[in-house]
């Protein structure tokens, strides 16, 4: 029971990270119907930028951890958003109206490019950071097993919840959110009634990248290490989360992210940790076969 509870907490933390990345996939798919394969690598770039920014702040003498974390959050979100914007501008915008698979292939190229760019710029070794947020609360102690909720887990879950609420509010009640929903329903029609579709799509990428950057920071803090390759597997899992929740649906992405986090954690805890990626990938395949619209997705109508 205690073990289960502990795994539940770990799973929710991991799931929060996946959920933040999954939002980027689901938004882009919802609006322009492409799988932004490079999104996982944007997440990795966000983590790296946070790492560099943090070390830079330390070097110029900002040592108070809360202040440093806040500044790192801002810097990493802004710069990663810029990466998201640039990637869209260079690799996806010229391809609008090209054949169906072109953006996906371009995105794969972008993903390879970003991985190697970071590898060349910062080296291939795993970069590790000493734990910044320490301390834990003991929730339950049965003598044999102690259930802990660490402060970092609290930070991750709280930040994710706040961002999700903020983001849901943005989509439902701001001008930009309305534009985004309009584009999602019908890009051409939205353009006809005066929505600046190019700008909306750009902003979608910017917001998705900013959220991925937060996920990258959380990943860095939680695991204390990052390397240039983490984006690939994390990206596929976050995409799985988006598909599981129903691609195109925001609550779906959040739900899917949490579910994937939980499934992965429980699988590692009770079966085998070597095959945890297999578990996540198998879920992707099973969901797509038996429930292609996901849990909260709308069925897709095939048009001629």
């Amino acid at each position: 029971m205690e073990y289960f509870l502990q795994q539940l907490i770990n799973g929710l933390t991991l799931g929060s990270i996946y959920a933040l990345v999954a939002i980027g996939y689901t938004m882009v798919y919802g609006i322009i119907g492409m799988i932004n394969f490079a999104h996982g690598d944007i997440f990795m770039v966000g983590g790296f930028l946070a790492l560099i920014a943090f070390l830079g702040l330390l070097a110029i003498g900002v040592t108070a951890v809360p202040l440093a974390l806040f500044l790192v959050l801002i810097v990493a979100m802004l710069l990663t958003a810029l990466y998201g914007w640039t990637v869209e501008r260079i690799a996806y915008r010229p391809l609008r109206g090209s054949f169906r698979l072109a953006p996906l292939i371009s995105a794969i190229g972008m993903s390879i490019f970003l991985q190697n760019y970071v590898q060349i710029a910062q080296g291939a070794r795993v970069k590790s950071l000493p734990p910044l947020v320490t301390g834990a609360h003991v929730l339950m102690d049965s003598g044999k097993f102690v259930v802990q909720l660490t402060n970092i887990q609290i930070v991750i879950i709280v930040t994710t919840t706040v961002l999700m609420l903020l983001f849901s509010w943005m989509v439902s009640s701001t001008r930009l959110g309305r534009d985004m929903r309009a584009c999602e329903q019908d890009l051409k029609m939205a353009a006809l009634v005066g929505v600046n579709t190019d700008r909306t799509i750009s902003l979608t990428f910017v917001i998705g990248a900013a959220l991925a950057a937060v996920a990258g920071i959380m990943y860095l803090l939680y695991y204390g290490a990052i390397d240039f390759f983490v984006g690939f597997v994390a990206g596929v899992k976050a995409f799985t989360a988006a598909v599981l929740g129903g691609i195109g649906s925001l609550p779906g992405a959040m739900l899917g992210g949490l579910m994937i986090g939980l499934i992965e954690t429980f699988w590692s805890a009770y079966f085998s940790s070597e095959y945890k990626d297999v578990a996540a990938f198998s879920i992707l395949i099973l969901v797509l076969i038996f429930m292609p619209t996901g849990i909260l997705g709308r069925p897709e109508v095939e048009k001629v």
Binding site: L49, L95, L101, I108, G109, R199, V236, I289, V304
Partner: protein
């Protein structure tokens, strides 16, 4: 999508005179963006310090140089495309290159084939070139196999390397555990790989393009993870070594009196085996090519191409889409299986590291660059791509960077690849090429 164009101010107003000011403005904006992108990533370097903790150091020179490169590059692009109205490279070369490529094809294909046949004679003493040629042919074969799935049937398969792995491991395990010869294992490996293709294909082929791509990617990863972790069966991350080398129809390439050299009264050299391997993979690749060309003229091949163009129309006309997709998948997988067992016998050692996603991406890039559907285009693309890789051998690090950028570049400038035109396999009176513009229109 033409509705969206007026939103882009740059395409609306085209300045005819030399607009240096505008170009400088563009370049300045690009430089500011680049500063944002590069300031942390290139300007600072994180390195483990003496105590093992990460330390940070500045790299102002690298940052400034990269910013200057961006500024000058963007300035030149702006000047050339906006002011001087020099058409983009793509527009300059695409129609001409395409038609001349078509005209060349009649001569180029036999010429290339003839050259391929005499490569071992010309470069007999150059072991390095022979090895490279074998590598190019292996990838050509893989790309021709994937071309059936992606180019003809229009199914994006990102896990193609899984079938390559199945072929390689089938040969390695069958040959090591049961002592079967290469010629027995080759068809078995192909059958096993296509069996896996059908197993994967059966449930997932109802999916649409992008979903299919991700599922095949996941499948490829699953196969690799299972191979890595199933230690007793596959040797895990250490791989399998000591895989039997191929023999000349039973005669081994050794220096024994029973060996190839002694029997044919030649002086023993290891090159015999390399040359044999070269002709082996050439033959396998040519079989792949010939089968594809023949299949395109059979009903199944036509069904593949029809499926690529319009799935709904296909279904309305009574084409069994599931079977059509399955055969494409299984055929493609079978050739990957052949190539895999060739790979295993050539290397003598295989490990999961040879079957990562990057291999799938590389083969896919070759198919895409070749023009998705053109046999000659794919062969030339394999030559260009692997040749390019070899040129950058000394810049190991930058190889994949350029590869990724090239993939984006191809999509942006020449999404139809080198050979953008299509030759229909069925025609009324005269064989007529379908120009690139129409091909492009058809696939939106």
């Amino acid at each position: 999508m033409s509705v969206l164009v007026p939103n882009d101010p740059k395409s609306a107003e085209r300045v005819s005179r030399l607009d240096v000011g505008g170009a400088i403005k563009d370049a300045a904006v690009a430089t500011v963006v680049a500063f944002g992108l590069f300031s942390l990533m290139l300007g600072l370097l994180t390195q483990p310090g003496p105590s093992g903790q990460l330390t940070i150091s500045e790299r102002p020179k690298l940052l400034i140089v990269s910013l200057i490169v961006v500024f000058v590059g963007r300035f030149l692009v702006a000047i050339f495309t906006r002011s001087l109205r020099v058409p983009l490279i793509s527009r300059l070369i695409s129609p001409k290159l395409s038609t001349s490529f078509r005209q060349l094809e009649r001569f180029a294909a036999p010429a290339l084939l003839g050259f391929a046949l005499v490569v071992p004679v010309l470069f007999y003493s150059n072991r390095y070139l022979l090895d490279l040629a074998i590598l190019v042919l292996t990838y050509t074969m893989l790309a021709w196999g994937l071309n059936i799935v992606v180019g003809l049937a229009g199914l994006l398969d990102l896990g193609y390397v899984a079938f390559y792995a199945v072929g390689a491991y089938s040969y390695a395990l069958l040959a090591k555990n049961f002592g079967l010869s290469f010629w027995v294992c080759l068809p078995l490996a192909g059958i096993l790989a296509s069996f896996w293709g059908i197993m994967l294909g059966f449930p997932v082929l109802r999916l649409r393009g992008d979903y299919l791509a991700i599922v095949t990617l996941a499948f490829g990863e699953i196969i690799r993870i299972v191979i890595t972790n199933w230690q007793d069966f596959t040797g895990g991350p250490n791989g399998i070594s000591g895989i039997p080398r191929p023999s000349f129809f039973g005669i081994p390439f050794t220096s024994d009196p029973e060996g190839f050299a002694a029997l044919f009264h030649l002086e023993f050299t290891p090159t015999h085996r390399v040359v044999f391997l070269y002709y082996l993979i050439l033959a396998l690749a040519l079989i792949t090519c010939a089968v594809t060309i023949r299949l395109r003229q059979l009903p199944i091949g036509r069904a593949w191409e029809a499926l690529r163009e319009d799935e709904i129309a296909c279904r309305s006309l009574g084409v069994n889409t599931t079977n059509t997709k399955l055969t494409a998948f299984a055929t493609g997988a079978m050739f990957a299986g052949f190539a895999g067992s060739f790979f295993a016998t050539r290397q003598g050692f295989i490990s999961p590291e040879s079957f990562v996603f990057m291999e799938s991406a590389l083969v896919l890039a070759i198919v895409v660059l070749g023009g998705m559907g053109s046999q000659l285009g794919v062969a030339v693309a394999a030559l260009v791509m692997l040749g390019g890789f070899e040129l950058f051998r000394n810049f190991e690090q930058f190889r994949m960077l350029i590869f990724g950028a090239a993939m984006v570049g191809i999509m942006v400038w020449r999404p139809r690849g080198l050979v953008a035109t299509r030759t229909p396999s069925v025609y009324l009176e005269k064989k007529k090429d379908i120009p690139a513009a129409i091909v492009e229109e058809a696939r939106q």
